[in-house]
């Protein structure tokens, strides 16, 4: 049974290595919020550099930034709004998948809501492209659906 990582010094940092070979530092208390990372620490020890094959140098700093704020209890609505303000839909997608992989619950919840918000009033075609889904309705089914749901197709944003 793995022993709990010693929290004797609050300034203890963990080294994380991304899938593209870059290394980033994170406080142990922040790492604890990401269950996948914590599991790896429990298995490998906290002195070793933790490999994160599915997370890359583009997104990891952003995730670290989020949890740095989290451990000081400073996450506010304003911070969250600012956090995603300049991210496009694809960048949010990548962060979301990384948060899922890292089992970083708080960030995952926040990004789920953000993706749902971004989908608001987007067209069906946009949603298909974004999620990479193929349309398997026949043309007749599709036009019947559109007819039935005409009320919800008003007010669609222009695809970005």
């Amino acid at each position: 049974m793995a022993q709990e990582a010693s929290s004797s010094t609050s300034s203890k940092t963990i080294s994380l290595k991304t899938g593209d070979g870059e290394i980033f530092e994170i406080e142990a208390s922040a790492a604890k919020q990401m269950k996948t990372v914590q599991r790896l620490i429990d298995d490998l020890g906290d002195d070793i550099t933790i490999p994160l094959h599915n997370v890359f140098s583009k997104e990891l700093p952003k995730i670290i930034e989020y949890y740095k704020k989290d451990i000081t209890g400073e996450i506010t609505k304003d911070f969250e709004a600012e956090f995603v303000k300049d991210l496009n839909d694809d960048e949010v997608k990548v962060l979301f998948l990384a948060a899922n992989y890292l089992d970083a619950n708080k960030l995952f919840e926040f990004l789920s809501q953000n993706i749902a918000d971004r989908l608001e009033s987007k067209s069906v075609e946009y949603v298909r492209k974004y999620f990479g889904v193929e349309n398997d309705f026949t043309p007749e089914e599709e036009s019947k659906l559109r007819e039935e749901r005409a009320w919800s197709f008003r007010g669609i944003k222009e695809d970005e």
Binding site: K93, F96, L97, N100, F108, E109, S112, Q113, I115, A116, D117, L119, E120, S121, K122, S123, V124, V127, R128, F131, G132, V133, E134, N135, D136, F137, E141, E142, K144, L145, R146, R149, W151, S152, F153, G155
Partner: protein
């Protein structure tokens, strides 16, 4: 069992997507999600997402015991042909059809006055000139005659009053209630007989009434208290969230009197007009209230595929009441006026509705 994993999305699995879909709070978005592909549509249906969204918007729906579809001939979900669907699956598809249609109404920007009839007032000073019926009339002066309701006088300002109304549809979404207190220009100083604050209740008639006991109604919603201004204008009281009124009964509670009548030194409350702005869900939807439990059956009539639109009170076909209910309303009105059942009323104006409920009666 359908395996969603392969064709669900190139980066989302069912669990993560469920997380995202549950965050959608606009019914239109959920509808569009179900138009993306067959797999996604099945996913929305099988996870009951339409129903969950409606429940979040209107917690009053938690009292739905079950859902019934009427006049459904030929209307079937796309994937329902064939007998391979289980009972559970059929129920889920039915829920989806009914709740996604229900959600349409929530999005309608149209709002109109949903009050159809006055039932009774807690007290009335001069009957019938100052009866609750006068509050249905928007103008406070018609050809020299004033149109308003007046309570009886009290020396204690804390004696409240209530005005009870029947809505145009047994099931309505109410967003806002508007009240205009009455200003007595014919009295010295033109006093305004408003109340200090108001509160609203919504509910249904009690299933069984043995006698005219205290509480004839079951209230399923009580609003917060709103301060009322002592001003002669149509004051708007917007509910914190739109409320689903099931049973079609609205009560306005007028709390605390502020205006004394010089002539007798008593405190009165007088109201010139009351409106309840919202959306009528009949005839597309009707309800049957099940006994004392307050649970109800939500019925969707596929014959009635109307868009929510302004209808006049004359289309009384939409008022789904049965003979018993109307009789009780009439007795209550008589009781409140302190006279016999329907004596002294212009009966032509208030005829029993001829729309008859289906088999299930209260």
């Amino acid at each position: 069992m359908m395996d969603h994993r392969n064709d669900f999305s190139n980066w989302l699995d069912p669990d993560t997507s469920l997380k995202i879909f549950k965050c959608l709070d606009d019914p239109a978005d959920l509808v569009r999600v179900s138009c993306v592909s067959r797999t996604w549509r099945d996913f929305v249906v099988e996870n009951g997402l339409s129903k969950q969204l409606c429940l979040r918007m209107f917690p009053q729906l938690s009292r739905v015991a079950c859902v019934v579809e009427l006049n459904q001939n030929g209307v079937k979900g796309h994937a329902e042909v064939g007998s391979s669907r289980s009972m559970e699956s059929l129920a889920l598809w039915k829920d989806h059809r009914v709740f996604s249609y229900f959600a349409r109404f929530c999005l309608s920007p149209i709002a109109m006055d949903c009050i159809a009839k006055a039932i009774c007032a807690s007290s009335t000073d001069n009957f019938p000139q100052e009866s609750i019926d006068q509050t249905l009339e928007e103008r406070d002066n018609i050809a020299g005659r004033f149109s308003y309701w007046s309570s009886s006088g009290q020396s204690n300002p804390n004696v409240p009053e209530t005005l009870t109304y029947q809505l145009a549809s047994q099931i309505c979404i109410i967003k806002e209630i508007n009240i205009q207190p009455f200003q007595a220009h014919f009295q010295m100083g033109s006093p305004i007989y408003s109340a200090k604050s108001v509160r609203f209740k919504m509910g249904h008639l009690k299933a069984s009434l043995n006698d005219l006991s205290d509480e004839m109604f079951v209230w399923t919603y009580t609003s917060p208290e709103f301060p009322m201004a002592q001003e002669n204008r149509l004051q708007k009281f917007m509910l914190p969230e739109p409320v689903l009124c099931i049973g079609g009964i609205l009560q306005v509670e007028l709390l605390e009197r502020v205006q004394r009548q010089e002539m007798d030194g008593l405190l009165y409350i007088c109201v010139s007009h009351v409106q309840a702005q919202g959306i009528q869900l009949s005839p597309a939807f009707t309800v049957d209230i099940l006994g004392p439990s307050g649970m109800f059956v939500l019925k969707r009539d596929h014959r009635a595929n109307c868009q929510p639109s302004a209808t006049s009170e004359d289309e009384s076909g939409e008022i789904t009441t049965d003979g018993d209910f109307q009789q009780i309303v009439d007795i209550l009105r008589g009781h409140a006026m302190g006279i016999g059942a329907v004596d002294g009323w212009d009966e032509e104006e208030y005829e029993v509705d001829d729309f008859v409920e289906d088999d299930d009666v209260l």
